[in-house]
Symmetry: C2
């Protein structure tokens, strides 16, 4: 296969390569800063308009197609992606600077997510069918028959994320869950992986064609600025928005939503610093092991994960001294890595330098192994600060996107609790505990639950399992709405709304609500869960 | 019982009568414009602060109390309300001008809602427990054990609604669902029913006392202006807001949320005009019957329902002529009724007069039976307009709160469809169809589903059943978030967020997630719904 010919740089509107005359945007390999094959075209406002018009048109048909066909469409995307998996991983590697095995794994994660949602919609119970049957003889008033299920919300705008060029991008979890819900998707490609986006976009377009979906169900637009994103988010035809990225970016979308005449659901996952609390016994007995484990987690993917452990908390003592020394040593021996983009690399350098200048913050470890032959390199850094100083300086809670962590040292358990009470909302919080130690910290855990979407015991926050129990979301500022998740099957609920039918003719009800339960799904009938 | 002594006009902060020095607010009987017994005190900003501080403190304990105790608390509120039911209904009647039987019924609806949520939390499955068990041998990576359930979101601010002095007020559906979710509640009383609010507030405070709940779980604040509402909505300790009322009021809260540093879930139910489509055969064969039915629905509660049928749609013809004549006649014979407040009465008069001046709008019926002995009287009105004019004038879609409806006459089915396509989001849409007629209108129904939270066949939209399948919500502007409902058991989901525990110690998990399923609730375990 000829890679250069495979990557088409035009926008994809309604599953078709669009005429593109906009300014060219080029793809860059961050590790060389050289331009990669392919010439991409900035979408125009008219392109955005057309994509949303086509999405709205397609919605009329797509929302009503039966679950099995929707599942077949998602599986067809899997096939198309799988067919180009090696090229895809290679291109994503070149564009992101992430290691090839990680990207090969990410292709699998992406297709796994699509398959998961295919299974979910095919099984069908996700629509939460709830039925209250009629009681015509009830006094003082008869009771109507009322049947409730989730329906799709309409066209969804998805923003590709820089740090997962596949799993949180064009055919990532947001797109998969929106398509599964019955929503057309317009993706704004992330400029950090244009070729990857184009390849995946073409794969989706092929699947649309092969499975006979309405073409407007998918569009992909390129932009290296903010114009197209803003146009899409503010457009009246957009019915929901999904975003994974920075606090600044996410809040910009939230503010744009406030300027809309009609507010819509916007889900912005804006990252967090993912506190890890090392309890005294654990750190006293496992300091070496914990240091190794966390050096790995801090530097995985060059620290460019939403769930990167950016904050380590512990009480002072011999165990902590050992842990600190060991973690410092280990991080010093981890070589620099290529950051996703020049901007991200610069931001990391600036922020980690600035934080080291804050009062009371001491940089205690910095890797010396800088790869001079590659560009966009950043090295792991570890800083430390006293709990007292940390509590007094909110700046120290800001996320530093990259292989960085701040170790906060408390005088005692009471001060440790105080630190936790001061924490902002988080995607995750982790506790490292010795056997039988956790039960002594119920108050601390209780506070962490209030602040967090996912709690982990004796593990690392990086590595987000894609499954039905996953919660990838959390109190502000980790997301703007803690009631939703962007990973796992529950991600679909961002894009669906309940509708009730009252005293409707059975044959004209959606299949999920008909008396005979033709889809054989789980339903609540007069408060009893049943498949009958 | 001495009514005057029973009604205490002080604010209730943390379930206790607070010292109140603020300006006095008086309660008015709208049908006489006379002052009613009781002297109420405007809450201060410091009161609002204290109520939220106490709510936050109480949250620490309240969120963790076992379901059975929460249910007992809700049922204790039922007992306290039931104990004063006659006084309550009588006072609500005096304050609202609504008929006494309606208010007696509303006491029942209010206690019914509280019991429904008591049953829901006691049964326990609402927390949506979802478990993915570990796969330690999975390749390439072991899978963690992940367990997810809903937890309460924190202190909720509830706004009492004018039109349901009991069921959508101090102990109404918002309060009941928030308390059931595990959230303390701070209620801003509606100034249109101060005494009713005070009585119910005292009932809740007693139940807090009797069942040993943390006192901060409930506060009730009075204000006849906007200051306290704004203070509460903008306060950082507020974690969610529930509101039922006007578009203007709801959007003011949505805008305040946009000004918060931390966005929170705000659910604003802002009403709608609830289109009713009379299909040709139905109107041809049942014109008299339909006119009677709808005259009743339009004037029920003096038209002061969120689900009042403010828009009637039909295709011209003999049947429609009969319907129109019959509805006009019937409405003319319905006497005036007392509106909830002077402001609401004036607004109704002004808006219904203004709409009659719009180009092409003709007022075709106005009751002549004005009760001259009572104040705040409004009469039913029916206006008509062509579909063409309606489509061209968005003003005609604005809600006129009161016993008013606009009959839109289409030339043919195609034009009827056009009208429906132009409609804004609605709480309800109703179709009146003859047997076998509905199936010919699948396109029309499909468009209505997109616009609506609840579809009704051959009924009236007024009368919202409180049950698990109810959807009382809908696309904007009927609410600001169509994914939620404010009536029925699903109302609880506004105030809960998922949390996942990963590889946690079984004994330290919330009971809902422990391996043995001690609460015996429905759970999804490795994608299988089970009570095991």
């Amino acid at each position: 296969m000829n890679k250069i010919k495979m990557i088409k740089g035009q926008n994809i509107i309604a599953s078709q390569i669009a005429e593109s005359n906009g300014p060219a945007i080029l793809a860059t390999n961050p590790s060389t800063l050289q331009t990669l094959e392919g010439r991409f075209f900035k979408a125009s406002k008219a392109d955005a308009e057309r994509a949303l018009q086509e999405a709205t048109k397609a919605y009329k048909a797509y929302k009503n197609i039966e679950p099995a066909r929707k599942a077949a469409f998602l599986r067809s995307i899997v096939e198309e992606i799988t067919a180009i998996a090696p090229i895809l991983a290679e291109r994503a590697q070149a564009e992101s600077g992430l290691p090839l095995p990680r990207l090969q794994g990410e292709v699998g994660r992406t297709t796994g997510q699509l398959n998961m949602f295919a299974n979910l919609v095919e099984e069908g119970s996700w629509v939460d069918a709830t039925i209250d049957t009629a009681q015509p003889d009830r006094l003082p008033l008869p009771k109507s028959d009322i049947r409730n299920m989730l329906v799709s919300i309409g066209p969804v705008v998805v923003f590709g994320a820089s740090n997962f060029p596949l799993a949180f991008s064009v055919a990532g979890g947001d797109t998969a869950s929106a398509l599964a819900a019955g929503c057309p998707v317009v993706v704004k490609a992330h400029p950090a992986h244009l070729g990857t986006s184009a390849l995946v976009g073409q794969a989706i377009a092929k699947a649309v064609e092969k499975t006979g979906m309405p073409k407007g169900v998918f569009s992909l637009l390129f932009d290296d600025g903010y114009e197209i994103g803003e146009t899409l988010v503010k457009h009246p035809l957009t019915k929901a928005v999904a975003f994974t990225g920075s606090y600044r970016g996410g809040m910009a979308l939230v503010k744009m939503n406030a300027q809309r005449e009609q507010p819509i659901p916007v889900f912005a996952e804006m990252g967090s610093i993912n506190p890890v609390v090392f309890l005294p016994q654990a750190i006293a007995t496992q300091s070496e092991e914990l240091a190794k484990k966390y050096a790995g987690s801090i530097t995985l993917g060059a620290g460019q994960f939403c769930t990167n452990p950016g904050l380590l908390l512990a009480v002072k003592g011999e165990g902590l001294d050992n842990f600190k020394a060991s973690l410092s040593r280990t991080l010093q021996e981890i070589p620099s890595a290529t950051m996703l983009t020049e901007d991200i690399q610069k931001n990391y350098e600036n922020l980690s330098a600035a934080i080291a200048l804050e009062n009371g913050v001491e940089l205690i470890s910095e890797s010396r192994l800088i790869n001079k032959d590659a560009k966009c390199q950043s090295i792991p850094r570890l800083a430390t600060v006293s709990a007292k100083t940390f509590i007094g300086n909110a700046k120290l809670q800001e996320e530093i996107f990259g292989p960085y962590s701040l170790l906060v040292i408390a005088e005692n358990n009471a001060e440790l609790l105080k630190v936790v009470e001061q924490l902002h909302g988080q995607l995750t919080a982790t506790l490292m505990a010795a056997p039988n130690e956790l039960s002594q910290y119920s108050e601390l855990v209780d506070v962490l639950v209030e602040k967090t979407g996912r709690l982990i015991l004796n593990g690392v926050p990086t590595g987000v399992e894609v499954c039905s129990a996953m919660q990838h979301g959390g109190p502000f500022p980790s997301t703007n709405d803690s009631r939703f998740t962007s990973v796992g099957t529950k991600a679909i609920y961002r894009f669906a709304r309940p509708v009730a039918w009252q005293d409707w003719e059975d044959a004209l009800l959606p299949a999920a609500l008909q008396a005979a339960n033709p889809l054989k799904i789980w339903r609540s009938v007069d408060q009893v869960l049943t498949k009958d």
